[in-house]
């Protein structure tokens, strides 16, 4: 993975939502990675999905209406 790539993360209120999203993205072949929520971001569930910034639109479309997301933000 390139260090220069900008990443975004999807935050969830529940681990189950994160897993459901992961399943959907896997099925659609959209690259992503499950990582612990970075320390400086607070979240109840502790895990989030990281993806390359350029995939944001595809990810939005894939998950919109199918799974509950707290927010998507830039990973600093």
């Amino acid at each position: 993975m390139k260090d220069t790539e900008e990443y975004h993360v999807i935050l969830f209120d529940s681990v189950h939502h994160a897993l459901r999203s992961e399943k959907i993205l896997k099925e659609m072949g959209i690259p992503h990675k499950l990582i612990p929520v970075p320390r400086h971001i607070s979240s109840d569930c502790g895990i989030c999905l990281r993806f390359a910034a350029h995939l944001r639109n595809r990810i939005n479309e894939a998950l919109n209406g199918r799974v509950e997301i707290r927010e998507i933000r830039v990973l600093e």
Binding site: M1, V15, A18, L19, K33, L34, I35, P36, G46, I47
Partner: protein, 196 residues
Amino acid sequence: MVKFIDAKGLACPQPVLLTKKALEQENDVTVIVDNEPAVENIKRLGNHMGCTLHTDKQEDGSFQIHLSREAGKSPAASLDVSCATGPLVIAISSDRMGRGNDELGYVLIRSFIHTILSLEPLPHTVIFYNTGVKLTVKDSDVLDDLKELEKKGVAIIVCGTCLNYFNISADLSVGIISNMYDIASAMAAAGKLVVP
């Protein structure tokens, strides 16, 4: 004025605590210790407190460390002092972390492995055995993390018997295939052995 500390014969964490105290009073401190872990701990303290460091090995086997604190730099709040006398070794015995729920366990182990990358210092060795070896083969979700660890100099050793058992030897994508001699030796030589 240079403050001089003779910390020979003192058990960890005494030398590093004495050095820290001295650096809070003086900008230049010279400390003598008689073991490598103490040297490493004092170096870490020095870097932490913004010091320039210079170490001389003495003829009697002891080490003389000169620390010089740059004016205006204040010590950071916390410092971990490691009194372990050997390397940190992590043993991954399963592709799940904890027992009870497999789906959750798989989330946790991926999270754990990603987090190893941010440990300071990094482990010396990460060992994979039993179903843990499934994390080291192609299409593993943590392959990028493991490759990054390997790139940073962490030894990744993978149980050959286990790869063979699951018939996935040909798919190994990171680390080196190893046997029980290496695995037992690495564990026995560890200062700290972490098994998530």
